[in-house]
Structures are given as C-alpha cells and as structure tokens.
C-alpha cells in the first residue's frame, strides 16, 4: 500500500434515497478509510438532507443507511463540513441534523462533534485545500 498521505474530500450534493449517490458515496468513504489518508466530507446543496435526524425509510421500502454517518468516527473520519447557506436555503437548522461525534483519544476519549458548519466562502477554501476531491 502506498506511503503517500493525501487530503481526500468527499463532496455530497444529493439528497439520500431519491438517487443512489449518497449511499454509494458512503461506500467509498468506508473502503477508503483502510488507506489511511486524511479524509473529510462536505455536504452542500441537497446533500445536507443526508444528515437529517430521524430518517425513516420504512414506507419507501429502502434501506435506512443514515446510522452509517454516526459510525464514521470509528473510521477516523472526524470532519463533516456542512454548508450554512445550503441549510438556510432549505429552511433547515443545525438542530435538524443528527448528532455525529467522534472519540478524541488525546482527550480521554471525550465525545466531540464531527459536524462543522461553515459558510460558502469557507467551504470554497476547504475544497481548494484538498489533494483529491470526489464529488457525488
């Protein structure tokens, strides 16, 4: 396996379930975790719906994969950037999003939030700072 360590950003732009992009994006993130790269996720446009709390897919007959986001901390994925304007434009608030946390081993395994709300200008800088941007 390569020694190179790059900054990977997975950009999620689509709502879950309506299309398969969100689910298959998560599959890449989970597989990618084995490669020990710097990984973060971005949620923009309808992608912010992926993080909605209380998702229930029973009536749609589809697998509810929203719990996977909460498990990302176990895969060393600790930065989930959420664009503020995308929330605002959809009438969503941070409180509508599911809590996603990670355990900080440098701080007595304290649970810390993984969701980081940033504005559009900051998101632009975050994207520009990456080595690899995979957009879904």
């Amino acid at each position: 396996m390569s020694e190179t360590k790059k900054k990977f950003l997975y950009v999620n732009r689509k709502a879950p379930y309506g299309t398969i992009y969100a689910l298959e994006s998560l599959e890449v993130v989970l597989i990618g975790a084995a490669f020990e790269q710097h990984v973060s996720l971005a949620f923009i446009d309808d992608g912010v719906y992926q993080l909605m709390d209380g998702q229930d897919t029973a009536a749609a007959g589809m697998k509810n994969f929203s719990k996977t986001y909460k498990a990302l901390g176990d895969y060393e994925v600790r930065k989930l950037y959420v664009e503020r304007e995308s929330l605002d434009e959809r009438g969503l608030k941070v409180e509508n999003l599911m809590p996603v946390t990670y355990e900080d081993e440098d701080d007595d395994y304290a649970e810390k939030p993984s969701l980081i709300v940033v504005d559009r200008a900051e998101m632009s800088k975050i994207i520009a700072a990456q080595d690899v941007v995979l957009s879904f």
């Binding site: 190179t4 298959e24 995979l134």
Partner: protein, 130 residues
C-alpha cells in the same frame, strides 16, 4: 502529468461518459499519462458489451474499448456498483450463479480500493458526473 478519470454516469442519458472520453483523448494527445479510468454509480453501464446503439450514433462502449486497446488504458468497473446493475465478468457470473457475462473488452471489474489508489497515485483526479 498523470491523470485519473472517474465516470459516474452511464452512456447516453448523461453526457458525462462522452466528456470523459473526449478528455481522456485530449490528455493522451498532449502526451500525458492516464493511470486509470474508474467507472462508478451508473458509470458501470459503460462497460457492458451488450449495448446496441443506433448505427448513426456513437458507440461509447466501443470507443472506450478501442481507446483502452490502443493506449493500454486500465478501465476499472466498481464491483459493488456493477453487481447492483447487472454488469458481470465470467468469474462473477460463475460465482453468482448467473447464466452469462457482459463485460466489454478492455474493462475489468475490481473494488473501490482501485478508486482510492487512483486518487493517491495520480497527480490529478477528474470526476465526470451529473
């Protein structure tokens, strides 16, 4: 420069595969290298040899297969995405108890690790999608 290309949409419904193909040709024409082309989501549908587009239209699968042949390109179809959509090579068809395979010449089926590796090994990874 060393490029990796990701194709996230199937042929004909979206332009992504056409644009990716044109981009690949332009990259090679400029003397650059293509480390890998990775087909994901509906992009795996570019890799079936069973498509029969009208004769006066382009045949994207053939174009990709020919480009792979002439430039020794590595065209990789994601196995998980392929299984959902019925793209199989001979091994997978046997393993899954299916009565035939449909992978096109020059394409191979492999795992998502090949996508991550492409991101690590290439100088630039370019995504073509919706």
């Amino acid at each position: 420069m060393r490029f990796a290309i990701v194709v996230n949409e199937g042929p004909y419904t979206h332009q992504a595969s056409d644009t990716a193909y044109q981009f690949a040709r332009a990259v090679l024409a400029k003397g650059h290298e293509i480390f890998r082309v990775f087909f994901y989501h509906d992009g795996v549908n570019n890799g079936t040899r069973y498509t029969v587009p009208p004769q006066d239209d382009r045949n994207l699968q053939k174009l990709w297969s020919e480009l792979a042949e002439s430039h020794k390109l590595d065209l990789v179809v994601c196995i998980a995405a392929a299984q959902r959509r019925g793209i199989l090579d001979a091994n997978e068809a046997k393993r899954q108890g299916k009565d035939g395979d449909n992978i096109a010449p020059g394409f191979r089926i492999s795992g998502l690790g090949q996508l991550i590796e492409a991101g690590i090994e290439a100088d630039r990874l370019v995504v073509f999608g919706d």
